[in-house]
């Protein structure tokens, strides 16, 4: 298509990456049988994962600058996110099978809704892939906006008033926010006047980085403010996070898992992308990182405040998302050795949060409520998902040996190394508050006396496998990382730093 000397070998990768979801999006509207639909979905997602793996292989084998094809590009940063996306989608899609089987059995969802789910799910996959693979900031913006539109109706898969309300808020806030982000893009174009880039090249992040020196600095900074507020709305950085708890709590569990597992990271990826450009433009003075850090700290504190007084488990998890997005932002904002830790944290958080929402969803189905006042004694009643929920929550509040503890430790380490005491102090205070607040909920849910006695629920092998894989994965990620992986993450970190 838009060819600036495409190396076809790589071109195919991008073609495939986009083709699979689009095909699914169109094709799945025709599948009548819901079960077949679900399994087809799993197949498609696995296929996408395979393509991503192929891309990764090409990336390692290929040139240092990453894979380029016209407006498309995969470098360390984007492949890292692609990989996380693949993991999240695989887990949550397989989970969706068991989840919706239960719904269909209980006859609480229609075949039509299932079809809508299938094609929108693929659409979301495609939109996210577009975001992660596009080098052109305009295209990237289109991708982000598309994710909003694709996922909006996933929230109100069952048309309850509450879900509609949540969807409306999500839709409007994110559209407005992303509109600001577009304004940021325009300002970047304006700033690029001096560079002599024209036409399609003017928004290519790779090009912009190359001639970052002669961008118009003040304008770039202004642009960054617009971009961070715009995309930040979708990331859920406080105080732009207001839509997040509503959407997460009202969506069906697989969708919530997708939301906090990767939708937020998609927008965060956009921020990281432009951060690289802006940092390069301002000469690595850390100005952009500073702004990001500010947002991160505010998010941690706000999240802590709301976690202390939460009664709905899915809202609790939603605020945890706010907190962890804040942690990642702080990590990136601290710069230096913290950035790769932040990217590492992206993976940890996504995996952990996916598991958490999946468990919360199944337990919600079991208890018929998400109110933690009634959702008690899960360990006794549903050992499988109970373990999943408790384990993932303990991981989320930063218990070792789960991976999140390690990445947070590294972030604090970098903060101390660079002597940013205030940030470190707020970080630790916030996380400790979250720990104290959330742990109370965990204990009550895990071992509190249930209101009425029930027999122990038996779960399918698939579900047991899901829980075990996720938890073991978290422990392994926390205790095992070959040097190559670390180098890869550090390379991605350098891209964010604009070096």
């Amino acid at each position: 298509m838009i060819g600036y000397g495409v190396d076809m070998g790589d071109g195919w990768i991008f073609a495939a990456l986009l083709a699979v979801p689009v095909a699914g999006m169109i094709g799945l509207t025709q599948v009548r049988n819901s079960f077949r639909l679900l399994y087809t979905l799993c197949a498609l997602v696995s296929l996408q994962a395979l393509v991503i793996a192929w891309a990764g292989w090409r990336l390692v084998a290929g040139p240092a600058g990453g894979l380029h094809a016209g407006w498309f590009m995969i470098d360390a940063l984007s492949w890292h996110h692609l990989m996380v996306m693949a993991v999240v989608f695989t887990v949550s899609t397989w989970y969706a099978v068991s989840y919706f089987k239960a719904e269909l059995a209980a006859n609480t969802i229609t075949e039509r809704a299932m079809r809508r789910f299938g094609s929108l799910w693929c659409g979301a996959l495609g939109a996210m892939t577009l975001v992660l693979t596009s080098d052109n900031l305009g295209l990237l913006w289109i991708g982000v906006e598309t994710t909003t539109l694709m996922t909006a109706f996933l929230i109100c898969l069952h048309r309850t008033p509450a879900s509609l309300e949540a969807m409306w808020k999500y839709l409007l806030m994110c559209s407005v926010g992303v509109a600001f982000a577009f304004m940021g893009n325009l300002l970047i174009v304006a700033a690029a006047r001096g560079t002599g880039l024209g036409g399609g090249a003017v928004l290519l992040s790779s090009m912009l980085r190359q001639c970052a020196g002669n961008l118009n600095q003040p304008v770039v900074k202004l642009a960054y403010l617009f971009l961070i507020v715009g995309y930040g709305t979708k990331v859920g950085l406080a105080p732009l996070h207001s839509w997040l708890p509503d959407a997460h709590s009202q969506a069906p569990a697989p969708v919530s898992a997708l939301f906090s597992g990767f939708l937020l990271n998609t927008a965060l990826y956009a921020i990281l992308r432009v951060t690289g450009v802006v940092e390069a433009a301002v000469g690595n003075t850390g100005w952009a990182l500073g702004v990001l850090r500010l947002f991160g700290l505010v998010s941690i504190l706000v999240a802590a405040a709301f976690i202390l007084s939460q009664s709905d488990v899915k809202r609790l998890l939603a605020y945890h998302s706010v907190e962890h997005m804040g942690i990642i932002a702080v990590g990136v904002g601290l710069g230096g050795g913290a950035i790769w830790a932040a990217l590492y944290h992206v993976f940890n958080h996504s995996l952990c949060k996916t598991l958490a929402f999946c468990s919360a969803g199944r337990l919600g189905q079991l208890y018929g409520t998400h109110d933690m006042g009634r959702l008690k004694g899960v360990m006794a009643r549903d050992p499988v998902w109970g373990t999943g929920l408790v384990g993932s929550l303990l991981a989320l509040i930063g218990m070792a040996p789960f991976a999140l503890f390690v990445s947070e430790f590294q972030i604090v380490k970098a903060g101390v190394q660079t002597g940013q005491w205030i940030s470190v102090g707020i970080f630790l205070a916030g996380t400790c508050m979250v720990f104290a607040g959330a742990l109370q909920h965990v204990l009550e849910m895990a071992w509190g006396e249930a209101t009425e006695h029930h027999e122990v629920v038996r779960r399918s092998r698939l579900e047991i496998v899901l829980v075990t894989v996720c938890l073991v994965g978290l422990v392994v990620a926390g205790t095992w990382m070959p040097a190559e992986v670390r180098d890869f993450l550090m390379a991605a970190g350098r891209i964010v730093e604009g070096r």
Partner: protein, 212 residues
Amino acid sequence: MWVDGLFVVLTIANLILLGTTRLSHSIRVVAVQGVLLALLPILRVESIHVTRALFLVVLTAALKGGVFPAMLMRSMREASVRREMEPMLGFTASMALGVAMLAASFWMGGRMQALGLEVSPISMASVLFMMFTGILLLTARRKALTQVLGFLVLENGIYGFGLLVAGSVHWLVEVGVLLDVFVAVFVMGIAVYHINREFDHMNVDELDRLRG
């Protein structure tokens, strides 16, 4: 000269939007605004690819002048609401605020100048004012439909801003953006329809069941 005149017209349109209560009026005003903005590239001589430019102008004008108003009118009729009742911020108050915002946007336009973006302050001020208006409509009105309008006005403002500061981005990007806006409005329309069916009202500020 022409351009500045056009922008004066747009500004007046914004003030009308702040003042009017009838939704149908607002819809039309927004449509006119959109068309005028769409025509703007023609008045600017330096656009190179004439065919592409024309294509874009036609597309934009058709969407903003034809499709959007039609869709909004339809959902207005389905929701059977005529006017924006008791807004959170009274109309006179919003007019006053509008004037204040106009002043602010002039100041900001000046600052923009300082940043080294060579654009005429009037036009810059007017697009900024357009965005302010959009935000005001989004935050100070009750009806979901008005918020959609607010979003459109905001979008118009950003479009105008783009024309001023960025010149033409690559036409594909613009098409993509247009497409997105179209889908967005479409989706919002459906959402309004469903909300209206579920709640049999479309007052957004009564959608406050989810808190904390």
